[in-house]
């Protein structure tokens, strides 16, 4: 409760929370496309590659205005992603290798530049190293305006070019055959991703930002089979984790916001992986379990049918449990018979023997001979 009260009154907390939610929303929505296009690592490369751009922007302008640093970050992240595409297209180096190459080269360069200006600029550069792991507490109203403006622009472009980006992500060759400018759309979507990433750098930092791209989409994919819902849900999960991270880190002293946001989205993802209705791990276990149960009771039913089939009136021929146990080498026959009775396929006689019901005879015939009684419907 106190967190909510503080949120209403505390300017810093409100700024941090809104900023974190904005970065989560935009990164989640754009990340959904990156994940579907199997470019999850591109986000990682772009965010690491933003570091030298931030430092260079400061070295050239001497200013720490958020917009200037964001432009620097975007430019160097963008150059890195284009270099990745160029390397893949012109050499025999594969995508993953090219991404690793650019990531480490640009990040290394950024670290070198950072230590250079640490020596030369002294106090003036204070704060630039916050971009490594993010420092949400330094967010001010001006940052928020920049983030919200860029984020809104990214989302509007995404909506306008929705069908083009959808086709590009699903089947780029068909898009090309239709005459869509595939290269241009590729660069466009990558540019949107770069902007989504640089929006979050001040809060989450270049090292952890890729998690905000990949994880919300991975969580959202568990819950839906529609692209629109996926993108919206990934944005929602991202924004939610931003809010949770900001609030939790404000309640516990010295807890950094960026890593807390990452922990929040990770928790959401783990829960989604486990408990989503169709794709979840638990749902998969339950399915396997019920299939196993079905197979087990089906084979008991088949045994009972084979026994009963030797009598003129199968439904009136009860058999003893020990006979079935012998046929099934002792596997949970009692449980299976009870389950079959529950389905109305078997019935227990007063003398403790089991017989098939007429429905049980039909189903048994189907199981054993693969045929149905006259007019019977497949079970």
């Amino acid at each position: 409760m106190s967190g909510i009260l503080e949120f209403m009154t505390d300017y810093t907390l409100r700024t941090v929370a809104l900023g974190s939610a904005t970065l989560g929303l935009v990164a989640g929505a754009l990340g959904a496309f990156a994940v579907l296009r199997r470019q999850s690592l591109l986000g990682d490369a772009v965010s690491h590659a933003a570091l030298p751009g931030i430092v260079l922007a400061f070295m050239v302008t001497g200013s720490k205005t958020p917009l200037i640093l964001v432009i620097g970050a975007a430019l160097s992240g963008w150059v890195a992603s284009l270099l990745v595409l160029l390397v893949v297209r012109t050499t025999r180096i594969k995508m993953d290798t090219a991404l690793g190459l650019m990531l480490s080269t640009f990040f290394g360069l950024g670290m070198v530049l950072l230590s250079v200006i640490q020596r030369t600029a002294g106090e003036g550069m204070a704060g630039l190293d916050h971009f490594l792991f993010g420092q949400a507490a330094t967010l001010v109203g001006e940052d928020l305006v920049t983030m919200a403006g860029l984020g809104l622009a990214v989302l509007i472009v995404l909506m306008l070019l929705w069908k083009e980006f959808k086709l590009l992500s699903f089947d780029p060759e068909f898009a090309g055959a239709l005459g869509l400018p595939v290269k241009g759309l590729n660069v466009g979507l990558t540019t949107l991703l770069v902007i989504a990433i640089v929006i979050g750098l001040q809060t989450v930092g270049v090292v952890l930002m890729s998690a905000m791209i990949v994880t919300p989409a991975a969580a959202a994919r568990q819950w839906t089979d529609r692209l629109g819902v996926l993108v919206a849900l990934a944005g929602f999960f991202g924004a939610l984790s931003g809010l949770i991270g900001a609030l939790v880190s404000s309640l516990i002293p010295r807890l950094p916001t960026g890593p807390t946001i990452i922990m929040a989205i990770t928790l959401i993802t783990v829960l989604s992986l486990l408990f989503a209705p169709r794709r979840g791990v638990v749902a998969g276990w339950l399915r396997t379990l019920s299939q196993r149960k079905q197979v087990a009771s089906d084979s008991i039913l088949a045994d009972l049918y084979r026994l009963a089939d030797q009598h003129p009136e199968p439904a009136e021929a009860p058999h003893e449990v020990p006979v079935l146990v012998a046929m099934r080498s002792g596997e949970a026959v009692d449980k299976g018979l009870a389950e079959l009775a529950r389905q109305g396929l078997t019935a227990l006689e007063p003398d403790g023997r089991w017989r098939l019901t007429p429905e049980g005879v039909d189903r048994g015939r189907h199981l054993v001979h693969g045929t149905l009684a006259e007019g019977g419907e497949p079970a």
């Binding site: 070019l161 959808k166 699903f170 090309g176 055959a177 869509l180 089979d225 529609r226 692209l227």
Partner: protein, 271 residues
């Protein structure tokens, strides 16, 4: 002979088409002439460049040389007359979308920028799905489709393009006999409407039954012409390098009697 080319109207004309990857020629100096209204098979061994040729004609891979004309004009001007069925395995079938959505993608080229598909596109998609016997699956998530159903969805997507000339890359790959039969019937209906279909094909046994025109390819063009003129031992040996034991006059597969019943839902194509 009725099979000889009516060269006055060429659907596809390819001149000097050459493609190279890393300085190794994949297609060398290909010339093709496909008359309108033909079903043409493109055949050759693995690595012969069949898929690359289709993609090069459609401008999807960079070419070192060559010109492509569709119905007498450069491809760039005639793109709207061309439909495409890529290999089924070229996309991720776990993509979060429905059958209807995929089919409507065939209309994206005709829709202007920023415009979303609407009622008209839904109607066209429903008609195309009807033709391939998949209308019950319109709302199905595409990851739940079998291989043959995936292929039918791709065909429906091409049908909504309402093209004059279709390029299909291995539409018979990994589909059961029933779907293969359904696709063949669809191809013949397209031909009856005067459409031209170019199909990358693998099965030497069915060439005569399915197609009336053929291109044999092995980096270079080995032969291109009517099936009964160029589909012979000599050309096959040139294309496949003598590894082919093809028996002329071997029994054709006879369609089973109940096949028509199986193909319910596979309607007629209206002009």
């Amino acid at each position: 002979m009725s099979e000889t080319a009516t060269t006055d109207k060429l659907a596809v004309r390819v001149t000097d088409l050459t493609v190279a990857y890393h300085h190794r020629p994949v297609l060398w100096d290909i010339d093709l002439e496909v008359p309108a209204g033909k079903l043409m098979a493109v055949m050759g061994p693995n690595g012969a460049g069949k898929t690359t040729m289709i993609k090069a004609i459609l401008g999807l891979v960079p070419t070192a040389a060559g010109r492509v004309q569709i119905l007498g004009k450069p491809y760039a001007q005639q793109r709207h007359l061309v439909g495409y069925v890529p290999q089924r395995g070229s996309v991720d079938w776990d993509f979060p979308t429905t059958v209807r959505d995929v089919v409507m993608m065939g209309r994206y080229g005709a829709l202007s920028w920023f415009k979303r598909p609407g009622a008209n596109e839904r109607k066209l998609a429903a008609e195309a799905l009807e033709k391939v016997g998949m209308n019950e699956f319109a709302d199905r998530q595409i990851s739940q489709l079998s291989g043959g159903q995936q292929q039918r969805v791709f065909l429906a997507r091409a049908l909504v393009q309402d093209a004059q000339i279709y390029f299909m890359d291995e539409p018979f790959q990994g589909v059961d006999a029933r779907t293969e039969r359904a696709i063949v019937d669809l191809l013949k209906e397209l031909r009856a409407l005067g459409r031209t279909v170019v199909v990358v094909h693998h099965d030497l046994q069915t060439v005569k039954e399915y197609f009336d025109w053929i291109t044999l390819l092995n980096v270079r063009r080995i032969a291109c012409g009517p099936v009964n003129a160029v589909f012979n031992q000599e050309n096959l040996r040139l294309a496949y390098g003598g590894r082919v034991e093809f028996l002329e006059g071997r029994t054709r597969r006879e369609p089973e009697n109940d096949i028509d019943e199986d193909l319910r839902g596979l309607g007629r194509i209206r002009p």
